[in-house]
Symmetry: C2
Subunit: 191 residues, 2 copies
């Protein structure tokens, strides 16, 4: 997606440790115009799937999912929560483990069983795909709910990390709107 | 807002400890149609303010803020992050302390100084107002940034808790689309 790549080149900041800061438009301050173009592009790429629900994970996937849902007939979105409490009734939720690339920690994500079932065809959405753990946890939750996975829509994939390969190897249609092949102080090269 | 009150009566679940579960349409699974009506109503109530940015706090305020921004000429949204890392450069962020009613914990929220300034007129948005601590922390951050506060738009206010009174006493225009006067196993009464 040309406009997104240009935006990343213009406003993204490459930091050490393979970190790309896009907090001026994607995951802290958020450009709503751009999100609508992203949502339209997801619709173009998943146009013939009969998607009933968009599933993402808090926090930075939520805005992308909410705006994108409008391009899919305002289907509901559902965001997996990062479990902070010990006293969740485990019988009422689907849960999975994920690892944070940025924070170097492992966390549990949960989705209420009431909102995901075998009658759903789910589009997974997230802002970033790096090592793929968050997305794999969403896939795991869909499997536990016996929901169909229509595919995964990612805004920025770090193509030099493993996540993309791991998701594609599961035969999931993965659509990343910008795939970074290489980035360093000299700039960003897209695949 | 009549439609919102009806939705809360129909799909909200009152639990012990003054907890209202609205996770089927507001803060886990999210009804995008309803959010657009909420966003339009916020626009009606803040129509003459020249708002430049919407500020909310992760996670459940983000979808409300993102959809609402579309009714304010697609102004950017900014979500305060709950600080989980010790190694944030404190010189680059505005921070404030807030207490979670639901989880009984205190946490720090942060906003990058790059995205909030005296040139901004800010609409604060959140899904719930209970004791008011999250909203007061957002107010505090705006004061630190010398940003103007146009007002606060809340989806559901628990009118029997202190937050509304505390925010209104600061001369901030507070617009809560549904104010719960009383709730228990017998039902919900709105103000």
């Amino acid at each position: 997606m040309q406009e997104l790549q240009e935006k990343i080149k213009k406003d993204g900041v490459v930091l050490g440790g393979n970190i790309l800061k896009v907090d001026s438009f994607l995951n802290h301050q958020i450009d709503i115009d751009l999100l609508n173009k992203i949502g339209q592009e997801f619709k173009n790429r998943f146009t013939n799937k009969h998607i009933t629900k968009i599933l993402t994970v808090e926090a930075s996937g939520i805005a992308v999912a909410a705006i994108s849902a409008q391009h899919f007939n305002n289907i509901p979105i559902l965001f997996a929560k990062k479990n902070k409490t010990k006293n969740i009734d485990q019988n009422s939720v689907y849960s999975s483990q994920a690892q944070s690339f940025t924070h170097g920690t492992t966390y549990e994500i949960i989705v209420s069983k009431a909102f995901l079932s075998k009658d759903d065809t789910v589009l997974l959405i997230d802002d970033f795909l790096a090592n793929g753990c968050a997305l794999e946890a969403l896939v795991d939750i869909c499997h536990k709910a016996q929901a169909n996975i229509a595919g995964a829509g990612i805004v920025i994939e770090k193509g030099f990390q493993e996540g993309g390969k791991r998701i594609r190897s599961k035969n999931i249609q993965l659509e990343s709107l910008a795939i970074i092949e290489k980035m360093d102080a000299n700039g960003i090269i897209f695949r």
